[in-house]
Amino acid sequence: MTDTTTTPPVQTQLRRGRFSEFWYYFSQNRGAVIGLVIFSFIVFIAVFAPLIAPHSPSVQNRDAFLVPPFWQEGGSLTYLLGTDAVGRDILSRLMYGAQFSLFIGLFVVVLSVTSGVIIGLLAGYFRGWVDTVIMRIMDVILAFPSLLLALVLVAILGPGLLNAMIAIALILQPHFVRLTRASVMSERDREYVIASRVAGAGSARLMFLTMLPNCLAPLIVQATLSFSTAILDAAALGFLGMGAQPPTPEWGSMLAEAREFILRAWWVVTLPGLAILITVLAINLMGDGLRDALDPKLKKS
C-alpha cells in the first residue's frame, strides 16, 4: 500500500477483490452472519435510542414501582418490559444502555489497539533492550488477574465510567503488543521489507506503512474479541459499583441496582444481563467468522 498514488486502478481493484473474497468466506459462516445482523440491530437501537425509546431513561414514576412486563399479570403496555424500583421504564433504559456498551467497546478497543500496536511495533522492530523492557512490563500486567488489576486501577483513579474504560484498555493492551510484535518479527526479514529499506525507507515508514498492513489480520480478530471483553469487564466493574455510577443506564450498574430485588422482581435482574449476553454473543459470533475468513490456514480445510 505504499504506492497507492502511482497505481490507483490496480490497487482499488485488488482491494475490492480482497473484500469480496473476505465477504465470501465470512458469509459462509452462518453464525457470523447472524451475529452481524444482531449487532447491526443493536447499533441501530443505540443510534436511534432518543427517537424510539418510549420513555426517558431517567424519569421516575412514583405510581409505577416494579411494574412487571406487559405479558405478566399487573403489567401494562405503557411499560412493555416493566419498570424498576424507582419507576423508570426498563425498555428505555436498556435502549440507552446500548449506547454506553457500544461506546465502551469502541473506546477501549481504539485506545488499546493504538497503544498496543505502536508499542508492539517498537518492540518487534527495534528488538534489543527496547524489546526486553517492553515485554517485561507486559508480563507484569499479565501476571495479575485482569479484573483485579482493573479494580485496583479504578480504586486509584476513582470510580466512574471513563476511569473504568481506561483501566480495561490498559489490561487488554498487552495482547495487542504481543500479537503485533510477533507479526512484525516474522515480517521484518521478508524481501519486501528489505527492498523497501534498501530503497531508503525510514523506520517509521517501514513500521507503519510497509509492515503494519500485513500484520492486520490477527489484530482485527483480537480487536473484535477485545470489544466483547471490554463490554463484559465494564459491566462487571459497573456491577461491583466501580464503573458507571447510578443513575447512568449502563447495563452492569442496572444489574447492581437490581440485585436486592432478585427474588421479588425477576425482570429487573434478568433483562439487563440478557442484553449484555446478546451483545457479547453477537460480537463473538462475528469474531469467529472474521477469524475463519482472515486466517488463510483455515480456508482450505
Binding site: G31, R136, I137, D139, V140, L142, A143, F144, P145, S146, L147, L148, L151, V152, A155, I156, G158, S228, L232, A235, A236, F239, L240, G241, M242, G252, L255, R259, I262, L263, W266, V269, T270, P272, G273, I276, L277, V280, L281, N284, L285, D288, S301
Partner: protein, 334 residues
Amino acid sequence: MLRFFLTRLGLLIPTFIGVSIVAFAFIRLLPGDPIMLLAGERGIDPARYAELQASLGFDKPLPIQYFNYLSDIVTGDFGTSIVTKRPVLDEFMTLFPATIELALCAIILATLVGIPAGVLAAVKRGTWLDQTVMGTALVGYSMPIFWWGLLLIIFFSGILQWTPVSGRISLVYFFPPVTGFMLIDSLLSGQSGAFRSALSHLVLPTIVLATIPLAVIARQTRSAMLEVLGEDYVRTARAKGLPPRRVIGLHALRNALIPVITTIGLQVGVLLAGAILTETIFSWPGIGKWMVDSVFKRDYSVVQGGLLLIAGVIMIVNLVVDLLYGLINPRIRH
C-alpha cells in the same frame, strides 16, 4: 529438565520485581497522603503524623522505601490490615483455602465436561451435535458470569429452593477448620448433614465459576482434535483396522490433549478473576471477595498485600504448568 526449570525460574524474577513495584506504587499512587489514608476520617495531629511517617518509613527516599518493602516481603511481612489489625498474610492464609476449594471444583467440572464435549463435537464435525455443543460453548464464553450467578440463584434458590443463597456451610454446623477445605472438614467433623450442607453451598458457585473455562476448554479440545484427526498417524491407525474408539481415545486424544493442558493451566488467571465476581455474588469467604471488600473499605494495605500474593500464586501456577508441559512434550524443552 533442570536447565529448563532454572531458565523458567530466572524469567520469573524480573516479572516478580515488576509486580512488587506495582504493589509498592499502588499505595503511593492513591490520591491523597498515604498516612492520612491510614488515619481515616478522624484526622491526626502533626506530632503523631511525624511519628507515623517515621515508623512507616515514608520520610525516606523512594528507592530506600522500596528496598525496605522488598525486605519485609522476603521475611513474610505483607503489611497489616487497617480494619482488622491482623497481618495480611494471616488473613490471606485463612481465606485462600475457600478460593482454592471453589477453583479446584470449578476446573474439575470444566475439564470433565469440556474435554468430552470437545471430543464429541470434533468427531461428529458438522452435525447438529457439533453445532449444539459449539453454540452452547459460545454462549458460555460470552456469559456475564455475575448475571449468570444471579439467574441460578433466582431459579435454584428462589423458585425451587434447592440450594442456599450464600456462604460455605449452614450456620447450624460448627467445627474447627482442619484442612480449610469445607468438603473435607465437614466429613472429618462427623456431624450428620454437614457434608451435604457444604456440598449444596458449593454447587452453584462451582457452576458459575466453571462456565467460562468449560467453554474455552471445549472449544480448544475440538480444534485440537480436528487438527490431530487429520494427521497421517491417525489415518494409519484407521487403515490398520483399529476400532474407531481406540483410534480416537488412544492415538488422537493423547496428542490433542497437549495444547488443552496448557489451556487448562492458563485458566488459573481467569478463575481468580472470576472468583472476584463469583465470591461477591455468593458471599463466598475467599480472597476474591476479600479484595473487593478491602477496596470498598479502603483497607489499602490489604489490597497492596493481596495484589502481590495473588500475582505470586498465578506466577507459581504458570511455572508449574510450564514444567508439566515440558514433561509431557519434550520438544518444548529445547
